[in-house]
């Protein structure tokens, strides 16, 4: 299966969509890494480097958006959701402005740069801002689609992209994105695997492992973490009674938390969460990090087995 980092798709999508839509792009001295460089090369007069000053960049983006021109503001997730949280909340979120935040290098798959750059908290932070849409694509095809979708959303959007190449399992020709709708990638009756971003293809692998033991697992891709597809999640919680969430993010405040919050008010179901436990990341090659932090198909499989045991 072809592999590509979602940040690559982000840069390519900006360059492609730049011909069709009027918008500006900002970066904070990371254009080579966030891939906004691809847009810059094509539309230099619509690209503005803000230097290493992320707080200013977010408020500048807000000011641009007040004039009616949508704007993408890009940096690493750590410096967007982390460093510039308050600017995003007060300059962008509160006035509900059309700023699209392209946050790359999210999660543990940053790899060798280590804990200071591995942002496992961004979803948690962004979820608390009223009116913020959070999109987290599972592959490059979906990543391209969310960039265009973001332009059609009235208000702020936080888009989460990864540095590490991941398998492309969606079909570029037929793929259709519906913001706010979970995607049932595979149906099942015993347990539901609810995954987002990099973990989606691993959930599909875990489903195969469970199938070998005669366990029927549904797999749902949640590309829109906010607003979350409460209807779909509740229906699968009722149908299977057991869920496993999987995300490349802290187990605190992210997809797992959102699923618990959503389902808890609707029905009784066992929910197990796969994600980065309550600790910081560290340097290392990505495969070794994924293994050490439990972000694997094997771990999803094991948690599904536990959920099935607890459901009895």
């Amino acid at each position: 299966m072809e592999k590509k980092a979602t940040r690559e798709a982000y840069g390519a999508a900006l360059a492609e969509l730049g011909a069709k839509y009027n918008f500006l792009v900002l970066d904070a001295d990371l254009a080579e890494a966030t891939k906004t460089i691809v847009f810059k090369k094509q539309f230099p007069e619509r690209f503005f480097d803000c230097g290493i000053a992320e707080g200013n960049m977010m408020s500048v983006a807000a000011g641009i958006a007040t004039t009616g021109t949508p704007v993408f503001a890009s940096t690493f997730a750590m410096f967007a959701a982390g460093r510039a949280f308050e600017q995003i909340r007060n300059s962008i979120g509160y006035p509900h402005l059309n700023v699209k935040i392209g946050a790359t290098h999210a999660g543990i798959t940053v790899g060798e740069d280590g804990a200071t750059h591995q942002c496992n908290e961004d979803i948690a932070l962004m979820r608390t801002i009223p009116g913020m849409t959070i999109l987290n694509p599972a592959d490059a095809v979906e990543a391209r689609a969310i960039v265009e979708a973001a332009l059609h959303i009235d208000g702020p959007v936080y888009m989460r992209f990864g540095r590490f190449a991941c398998p492309i399992f969606n079909d570029a020709e037929s793929y259709k994105l519906e913001v706010g709708k979970g995607v049932v990638l595979a149906d099942g009756t015993d347990v539901t695997l609810v995954a987002t971003g990099y973990m989606v293809h691993l959930a599909l692998e875990a489903r195969e492992m469970l199938a070998k033991e005669g366990i029927s697992a549904a797999v749902i891709n949640i590309h829109t973490i906010k607003p979350i597809d409460a209807t779909l999640l509740s229906s699968y919680a009722k149908k299977t009674g057991a869920l496993v969430t999987a995300e490349e993010h802290s187990v605190i405040g992210g997809l797992g938390a959102a699923v618990c919050e959503t389902v808890a008010g609707e029905c009784a179901a066992i929910i197990r969460r796969v994600g980065v436990e309550d600790k910081f990341g560290k340097s290392g090659p990505v495969p070794a990090l994924l293994e050490e932090y439990g972000l694997t198909a094997q771990h999803i499989y094991e948690e599904a087995k536990k959920a099935l045991e607890l459901k009895k």
């Binding site: 707080g55 408020s59 000011g63 004039t67």
Partner: protein
Amino acid sequence: MDNAKRNALTEAAKNIRLGILKGTHSAGSGHPGGSLSIADILAYLYIEEMNIRPEDPKWEDRDRFVLSKGHTAPAYYATLAERGFFPKEELATLRKIDSRLQGHPDMKNIPGVDMTTGSLGLGISAACGMALAGKVAGKSYRVYTAVGDGESEEGQVWEAAMFAAHYKLSNLCVILDWNGLQIDGPVAEVMNPTPHDEKFRAFGWHVITIDGHDFDQIEAAFAEARSVTDKPTAIIAKTVKGKGVSFMENQVGWHGKAPNAEQYEAAVAELNA
């Protein structure tokens, strides 16, 4: 400046000050000190300087104003009411539960407010964004923003200063309200950000220093700012915190305290004298 113009500005500034007192007294909270210090500059901006249409507050070619020192919203609201963006009677609803006059400016609900502010340091950056977008779109509008001297302790103010000079935002004009006081005491004692003129100049700005209560100097400064074509302008306006109400002038305690009934009456009487 001829006498008729000066008299009109003086009258507008007095009304703005009365509005500040009305709002904060009615709310029982708010920030009169820094509102009174910026009143003359706001009067000049909204009566003389800015190209705006109160009947069409979102007119896309309008000049913009961002109150980066957002806590002085009472002055902003009183100015907008004075210029006809909404009825003056509404000033008495400041900070009340069903009022659109929030404690800090809210662009979504208040006619004439161009940017939501309140958290210090963010407004000047947003003003940079407006100015940049104007340049990119080939618009001739100008962007004004008022920054507090205490606010200039925020690092983001200098990130914005770097940005504005780098992109030659000559359509941007910062007014630094140099009233010398912040919540914890004199600005020079809490965390001295001076000299502002040399700092802005070093960042690549055109700098003008004036008495922020002298309409002739205010007029000359804005005219000079409009003539600069290759860099943003910072007007360092020396002001008096609490200006116009003698018992509030230069008193740290009036940064964030509302006048009670007796104080309100005395202040109104003094302004009307």
